[in-house]
């Protein structure tokens, strides 16, 4: 998967969880939760969605690694390559 493809999926996931936000407008280094005004509940929903779509389990201590779009895409790429397909 290319970074663009991952970004596309991630944007769709955010839209589903928080329909009235505009995740496609996020800059690579924007703090996602802050910019989109996502609370802890929605954040947890997003982590669940990551698990469902990419098969990635995100432990709580990794929450800091997915705070921006750039980091999030990197995190997903890393995790995916580590998983046997």
């Amino acid at each position: 998967m290319t970074d663009e493809e991952i970004k596309h999926v991630v944007v769709e996931l955010f839209k589903k969880i928080a329909p009235d936000t505009e995740p496609e407008k996020l800059a690579p280094d924007d703090d996602i939760r802050h910019t989109l005004e996502i609370d802890s509940f929605d954040a947890l929903q997003f982590v669940v969605a990551l698990d469902e779509h990419f098969g990635i389990e995100t432990p709580e201590e990794d929450y800091g690694k997915i705070a921006t779009m750039k980091n999030l895409i990197y995190y997903i790429q890393q995790k995916k390559t580590r998983l046997p397909t």
């Binding site: 609370d39 509940f41 929903q45 982590v47 669940v48 389990e57």
Partner: protein, 381 residues
């Protein structure tokens, strides 16, 4: 060749035992001759032949029991046989039709309601679980459902799913509260270190979908505290009315503005996991404005939690006719003195807004103490 069969002498005869052949191969037989004696449940019966010819072969030995229709002997007749083999009646109706695919639909019996009540509830989209029955043995009657439907209609009127009207509803309720309820406020800082540490460990044991948020600890702590301080759980309706059930109204802010306060029923009796499940159920529906009227009207106290990265403390406005509201600010790291030592701890500030007509500060203070104590022993929650 003609077949001589074990005859059927009645619908209740299934088989017969050949006791004696009265003919042997080569014997000539004619219609009406008795050629065999067969034993049935009714005794020995003479068996006649209906055809003419020469006995060719005896196929059944004496004392052999055979079912009705079995060929017992062959009789040769020079010309073409009159006794053509007839199929047994009934066979034609048994030919295999394909087995119909069929699945039973068996709904669980959940509520005691009259059939009519069930029908009306289905028509009016009323959840019978939320209707209180006044009939025989608590059965829900037509009248009960119609009452609930009327209430729902009222709720729908004051709560059309438009942001603006939610804003108006909140405005009306809060104005009424501020106008009528003499609020008093208390606040308490709570060290969340143990609670959060316990939560991290607890979440390690859970899958992503089962993960708990800190807010469930807060809800459960409040609910348990209320069992110790029941004076704050109830309504003010011409005097304080205590409620047995602890139904916690959980304020959910809508991104588009306004709040919704769905109830989590019997929160004191739910486990943390069950509370999390309840939140997972309620929050998305609240945000989609798909809550049922009953979920909005049955809470006995309200909790408002600001969550992370927000204000440090909140002074709430009581939701009438309730008599108390517990507020939680953000968890933020603060210097914390304990036993003469200074440390940095994650701290949350709990506030209580309470109706002074129903309780005094001492009661409110006891509630906050209990909440604090429970959050220091998260394993007991």
């Amino acid at each position: 060749m003609i077949e001589f069969n074990m005859p059927s002498l009645g619908a209740d005869m299934e088989a017969g035992t050949l006791r004696e052949w009265l003919v042997k191969p080569g014997d000539k037989v004619k219609r009406g001759d008795i050629i065999a004696i067969v034993e049935t449940q009714k005794g020995l019966i003479d068996i006649e032949v209906f055809d003419e010819g020469v006995v060719n072969q005896l196929l059944i030995r004496e004392d052999e029991k055979v079912p009705v229709g079995t060929v017992m002997a062959l009789i040769a007749n020079g010309e073409k046989g009159t006794g053509k083999t007839l199929q047994r009646l009934g066979k034609e109706t048994e030919t295999g039709k394909p087995v119909e695919e069929w699945q039973p639909v068996i709904a669980p019996h959940l509520v005691k309601a009259s059939p009519l009540a069930k029908r009306i509830a289905a028509e009016k989209n009323i959840d019978l679980q939320t209707v209180k029955g006044t009939g025989e043995g608590g059965a829900i009657t037509k009248e009960d459902v119609e009452k609930a439907a009327a209430q729902k209609a009222v709720m729908n009127e004051i709560k059309p799913p438009a942001t603006e009207s939610i804003r108006m509803a909140v405005a009306a309720a809060m104005s009424k509260s501020n106008r009528e309820i003499p609020h008093y406020y208390l606040q308490q800082k709570i060290d969340m270190r143990k609670a959060l540490a316990w939560l991290v460990e607890a979440n390690k044991l859970r899958g992503v979908k089962q993960r708990l948020l800190p807010v469930v600890l807060l809800i459960k702590a409040v609910a348990k505290a209320l069992t110790a301080v029941p004076e704050l759980n109830g309504y003010w309706e011409n005097g304080f009315r205590h409620k047995d059930e602890i139904n916690i109204g959980f304020a959910i802010s809508l991104r588009s503005g306004g709040v919704m306060i769905p109830a989590i029923h019997n929160a004191d009796k739910k486990t943390l996991d069950e509370l999390m499940t309840a939140l997972n159920y309620i929050i998305p529906r609240a945000r989609a404005m798909k809550l049922k009227s009953s979920e909005l009207s049955t809470s006995t106290i309200t909790i408002t939690s600001l969550g992370e990265a927000n204000a440090e403390l909140v002074y709430g406005v009581i939701y009438p006719p309730q008599v108390a509201l517990v507020g939680f600010g953000s968890i933020i790291e603060q210097p914390w003195a304990e036993q003469g030592m200074l440390d940095v701890r994650p701290v949350i500030t709990a506030t209580l807004a309470a109706d002074h007509r129903a309780t005094d500060g001492a009661t409110g203070s006891r509630l906050l103490m209990y909440i604090n104590n429970y959050l220091q022993k998260p394993e007991l929650l």
